[in-house]
Symmetry: C2
Subunit: 584 residues, 2 copies
């Protein structure tokens, strides 16, 4: 049964057919919607281009402008005030990517350490796979943009997106196969360039969850993550760093370790993160004392003059794939060993560190809850660090309770300064832990005998040299007004009292962190929790366990509700105390 | 160090603290953005409520209106024309859910079979867990809404969303644990009610991928999916149905099996889907011949008068969780056995079927590629169907190539009508396969001897009774003008010729389907691929393999580009033919 052929077809042999992409030109329009790390493109339902086959089914489009291109998930719009027919809308980060503007996290536009190094003596190796041109001028990017229609009449091309090159590798992993370095490179490149949807990112994380990555695959992933971003080179043979796998509130040892080892002369350009799910990150706490977002040349001068800094990392440049993955790991509360190791070590290597002290706390409410688990994790860190030529010393520490007394930026800054000043009221556990980690770091120095590090660190702290170094850093970075002898805490507060007598045998890290966050930390810097009793203390009924500080009545009420569910304290007898076996 | 306490705190024992949800009132505003199956809430960055802690970190909010509530992922907006301070925007389906409007798929608002039964003799059991009030008036939902600001001044409450109740079960599955029926019920309820983000949906699918669900868990999942939706009861002891696991283009056997078994007197109220990723679904093809979206009472009368129908399923009501999961399975190309079995069987049970013939095609480019794999899948279908009290007959068929000649709605309708008319040019493989499946279905009749079904089906077809039944159904449903002797094919076309002589030893189902979709099928109903050579045919160089029809020049060019990459045909010798061992 021949079909009617009104337009006699040209018979063309397949090999002679040119690949003609299905594409159309549209006016670019920034849409002021923050979709986090997923690129979203908006097309009007009545748009001629939308009618074309495939856009709905594939739901992923490639948008091109002057040779740049990005992939985006398509949302269909019925409101011409968002996008009109003939326009293509892009969500905020997608618009930035396409225009070659700097990535932008929140209202401020901070300078990262990586961009610092680009104009100083440190050398940056930029992967050729980076799509984002961070050298472009970002001054055109104001909030005006989001209300300015497509005033600039930029014309973009939209076409059906081919699946990301690494989808084959993802599907093979979903089938249970082992991936090689080339697979990981392809996956990480696509992730860093926002070629994966949230769905695909989630699939990648879940299929590499638990023990689904062997240690060689974790090395491949780490290596690929380093290659996908920028890499700093400080031109010294030893660049020391410390890191904790997290989960312990109040654990601000970096602000003690850095001044101690820098006072000894080690190069320690420490970059820290802000809190993501915790009540305070090191950058949030340091910011109470000094500026942490600094212009390029200033920060470089500080590192040159003082051998250290305590700055915000602005991580976007160093391991861009990791930043994308975190946006999915967080809502899923995934923290698989392989992903943790790759995330931490890739950022350290990219930041130019050569020697790393890694803190793994163990405790009933810590991330790691048993010694065998800690040892497995330690071996994985050591294996991958070895493959990456990063010297590592893993220290297993006591994670049964928060470190120090304050939880929240201001309260933690108070604790740190008390330790540095050798205040007799300073929390001893914070001091001891910091000395232990600093001692291990000092022993990276080939001139330091094994076992001498702790005493050296103690001498540096007790002599006031660590405080002097910290004050130098504070002044150099730009000191903020802060009276740590009488810190201005958030005005609203309530006290949590013991309901009965007994020994404190447990403090739930997760619940204490949750209460502090609900009270406002770290967004409200002087909010948080101030502990008054720690493990082993015998308390009477009605005795003060801790005080909660908040800046807003609603925050206070929400923290109260959380305390009503659980105050995080367990009372019992001495025999109920959880044991923890840590090396010294 | 006591903190300054300007506002002397009231000391409240934890147990006396009331749980005070952190919530605020905002004006509801529909936002005309279609985000598929993910609810999105839009808040302006300067909104007082957004400032409150937790909204960003949790990124999931609960929106309440008159006791109804929905969960939504938060997007932050910088453009007051999308949402202003004091407003809460909701994406289209989220807005409908909150307002209790009917779910809405695409511009048309079709009547589903499930809603059909609600006012007829069929009985519907509605789960109490259904959040959507589908009885609400949907006439207020016009596109006006999306451009009408928040003119109605509806005030909603927004609060931090507690994690969905089943997140614990999801995390246990992520840790590798086995789930029970209560876990599956909680998960499916949350999925059906859109409580899961795309990230969480993806995590659920990947962590239940491959063999991660044992067969008991697959039964639990199936049962939970049935319970989460509506269930039809046709008040007869035998309601027959057929289903194919998919993946074979041109496989339109339902349009032959249904008239055959209905002519025998069996009750076969067949509901079919439209194409999702294929070039045509049964509903798309039937629509060439007759209306498939019918008012409630008409469709009921058809089933009562003719013992059958061939209608669009409007699946949203029968297994709502499945519709949500498909939105994530599709982009990931996941098709795990457990998920497939639960998806298919839950819809059949919910639709009131008691007896099912299930078609599993095997072939090198089919979903199932080996007999052991087919047998494993068969056992899983049989086990779960048994637990669900659904009689099942699994038929393993030849899936080495497309069935029939036409691929695309009009071309497939032509093939079907040729078979029904006993046209000597009718594709024999489609006829034989349909007779075999119909024969197996007839053998569900206790009065039919095992082995007699095929001959009975052939007699019904050859005698013209099947054609008469089909014509009855076409007239009853409302016939569309279609001349299957000279079908109006899409005006643009090109031919694909054999580059050399040889025997056709392979036709790639996936590539043929892709070419037909790119040519416009099923959106352009008269577009597609018309095969002229099938497996085993000896062809000469330059001989016509198939013709591609398209309605638009751009579609034609895109199909050409795909053919240039691969024309889907393999030529070789008789010994190269893939074998397939199918029972008869």
């Amino acid at each position: 049964m021949p079909a009617p052929l009104p337009d006699p077809p040209t018979v063309t042999a397949p090999s002679q057919v040119q690949t003609l992409p299905k594409e159309s030109r549209l006016r670019l329009r920034p849409v002021g919607i923050d979709t986090y790390h997923e690129n979203v493109a908006y097309l009007h339902r009545d748009c001629e281009v939308y009618r074309a086959e495939g856009f709905k089914a594939l739901s992923k489009v490639e948008v091109q402008l002057n040779g740049h291109s990005i992939l985006a998930t398509l949302n269909v719009v019925d409101d011409a005030r968002i996008v009109d027919c003939g326009e293509l809308g892009l969500s905020k980060s997608a618009y930035r990517q396409l225009r070659g503007l700097k990535p932008h996290f929140g209202p401020a536009s901070p300078t990262s350490l990586a961009s610092l190094a680009s104009t100083t003596s440190a050398t940056i190796t930029t992967s050729t796979s980076m799509a984002t041109d961070t050298s472009a001028d970002s001054t055109t990017d104001t909030t005006q943009d989001w209300a300015g229609h497509s005033a600039q009449h930029i014309s973009v091309t939209i076409s059906q997106a081919e699946p990301p090159a690494s989808m084959g590798a993802l599907h093979r992993k979903l089938q249970g196969e082992r991936l090689n370095l080339a697979d990981m490179r392809a996956l990480v490149r696509d992730i860093a360039q926002h070629h994966f949807s949230k769905i695909e990112l989630s699939a990648f994380l879940v299929t590499t969850n638990r023990d689904e990555l062997d240690r060689e695959e974790v090395y491949f992933l780490t290596q690929a993550m380093v290659e996908a971003g920028r890499r700093l080179d400080w031109h010294e043979s030893m660049v020391v760093d410390k890191h904790c796998i997290g989960g312990i509130p109040g654990n601000r040892t970096s602000m003690l370790v850095v001044p101690i080892v820098a006072a000894h002369g080690m190069l320690c350009p420490k970059t820290s993160s802000r809190a993501i799910t915790s009540p305070a990150g090191t950058a949030d706490t340091m910011e109470i004392l000094a500026k942490v977002e600094l212009p390029i040349d200033e920060l470089h001068a500080i590192v040159r003059n003082h051998r250290a800094c305590l700055a915000w990392g602005g991580t976007a440049d160093l391991s861009p794939a990791d930043d994308v993955l975190i946006s999915v790991e967080r809502p899923l509360s995934l923290d698989a060993p392989g992903q943790m190791v790759a995330s931490i070590l890739s950022k350290k290597v990219a930041a130019g560190s050569t020697h790393l002290v890694l803190d793994i706390p163990i405790g009933p409410s810590a991330k790691v809850r048993s010694m065998p688990e800690a040892q497995r994790l330690r071996r994985l860190f050591e294996y991958v660090a070895g493959r990456m030529n990063l010297a590592i010393d893993v220290v297993i520490t006591d994670g049964r309770q928060p470190v120090g007394l304050g939880i929240g930026p201001v309260l933690e800054a108070r604790d740190v300064m008390q330790v540095l000043e050798n205040d007799p009221d300073a929390p001893m556990d914070l001091r001891q832990k910091a000395l232990r980690l600093a001692g291990r770091m000092l022993e990276f120095d080939p001139d330091v005998r094994g076992g001498d590090g702790f005493a050296m660190a103690r001498d540096i702290l007790d002599s006031g040299r660590a405080l002097a170094k910290m004050n130098d850093l504070i002044v150099a970075q730009g000191s903020h007004s802060f009276n740590h002898h009488r810190p201005a805490l958030a005005p609203l507060s309530f006290e949590v009292l013991s309901s009965r007598a007994g020994m404190v045998t447990g403090i739930d890290n997760l619940q204490i962190a949750r209460i502090a966050r609900l009270a406002g930390a770290p967004k409200v810097p002087h909010a948080g929790v101030d502990l008054r009793c720690k493990l082993g203390r015998e308390v009477q009924a009605g005795e003060l366990l801790y005080r909660v500080h908040a800046g807003f009545a609603s925050d206070l009420a929400f923290a109260r509700a959380a305390v009503a569910k659980s105050d995080a304290y367990t009372l019992g007898q001495a025999v109920d105390m959880p044991h923890v076996f840590v090396e010294f």
